[in-house]
Amino acid sequence: MKKYIFIINVIVALIASNLVAQSDYEIVQNFKNRYQQFEQQIKNAVTLEELNSLTGEIERFKNEFSTYKDLLDKSLYPDNFEKSFDKLGNSLVLRRTDFTQIETLQTEVITLRSEVDELNKKNAELLNQIQLLEVQRKKDAETIARLEKLVNELRTSLKKRDELVYAIIDSLSPKLSGDVSALTQKEKEQIIAETEKKNVLYIVKKSLRDNTRFLEVTTLKPEDLKDVKEQQSNFVSMWQKVGPKLVDVYASRKDKAQELKDIDALFTSWKTGIQREAWESIREDFALNNINLQSFYNGNEFTEIITAFINDEIKSYGVKSKEESQRVYSVFVDSVWYKTISNEWMPYLLENNMLTTQQKEIIEKKIAEWKEVISPKDLTLIYVGAGVLIVLIVAFFLLRKKNGTKGVQNTN
């Protein structure tokens, strides 16, 4: 019986293969290629509709190849026919979850956008108020306190707004996560549409401009600048996730490509603004003590201007009154240099490579030289010595005189 079944099987196989002479290898390769295409299409799908249409196509693909199920079961090692389709099904489900998340994110983004708009308005008002107060900063303690309060409020508000902006930028990330150069024109158009809808380029530019303006209208301390630097580096790393990819997506749109270049320029201007702010705040610290220095924007200029100022003071010693020279020295060195610059700014300047140790030493040497002129060490010692000697002589004569008087009284 088994022999007959075997012969029948052979005959059926021979007849079947006589009908269509097709390579099994080609069938399997064809299946694998189509399968890979589906995997890629699932990965590249940009809308839920596209994904849904793939579901139908995959079903048709399965039906088409079900004739070869036995062959594919044996050939798709380590998978088999059903397992392969289970995998495709799982990929579809996973990708669908991405889209659900994207939809949720889009809803969140709309809320975020309105919050950003509100914060932008508030920040603009704060910036104007601060600018007005900065003009009359030196007027009274109340104004200064109000100004500080406003600056703090603005700093918090800017930070909050930037966090919202990060969230909006982040919502673009899933679509830009893969290789952008592999995207079709249609996919690129969809990303552009979404970017436009969220007004991403505008809000990023607005944020960068406000952050730069914040530096322009405020006088900050090193610890504040450290915060701003951190905020800037967070913003940069967030933008780097999508910025360069958006440049590729917008390659065909010249106006937008220019806008992306503007954003790069604004980042640079913010970065330079932070350095500039440090130098301006230092100059402001001197100005508050009525020492008006020329502007300086780097370590070399700072060293040159400070040493030139001291040189002038040394030269004019003796020309103007000594009291005036000593007053200037005392204000410059004690009230500004040691109290603010050396204590507060110097670690920041050195840490951020804005000033070298050699430049710091040059200035300190110059200050020591100035001190020598204002109150020379050896003369001071001589004065002190002479003073002590005079006191001793006077005391000696007084004692002697006293003893002499007592002797006369006793004789009497």
Partner: protein
Amino acid sequence: MRIFVALILTVIVSTACSSLKLSPAEFSWPIESVQKIDKDGFVKEDRYSFSFNTKALFMEEMQDSMAYQGKDLRMIRNQDGYYFITSKGFRNVYIFQPAEASLELKEKVLINENGLSNPFFNQRNPYIELVDGDFKAYLTSEGIYGGAK
């Protein structure tokens, strides 16, 4: 007498060992494997983890051991464990059996004096189907089964 018994026992045991056979065994590949020959003349089959050098095969077929360059080799194994190998431009199908660190030629089957134009193998147990355009033949380890069609 003792020596004689010991000898008989040794013969019985060694005979029993050498006749140990695990059967049935099935070696067939579901589909042929099409492999590119590398620059040194080797083909490597990843799924079945084996490789061999093809220079001698090309020497035999084309009288040029370097003719493998840029060529693909098509191979399939039948249920008995014989390897059927051919390539585009070959006149023959080569049937090999595994040997110690080598493949040993079992049969060389002439198919087309002018060379095969686009050959492929299919597994059609117990045969290996060879198709080249309109030509079709069923092969066993002995050669063509029932003549070509």
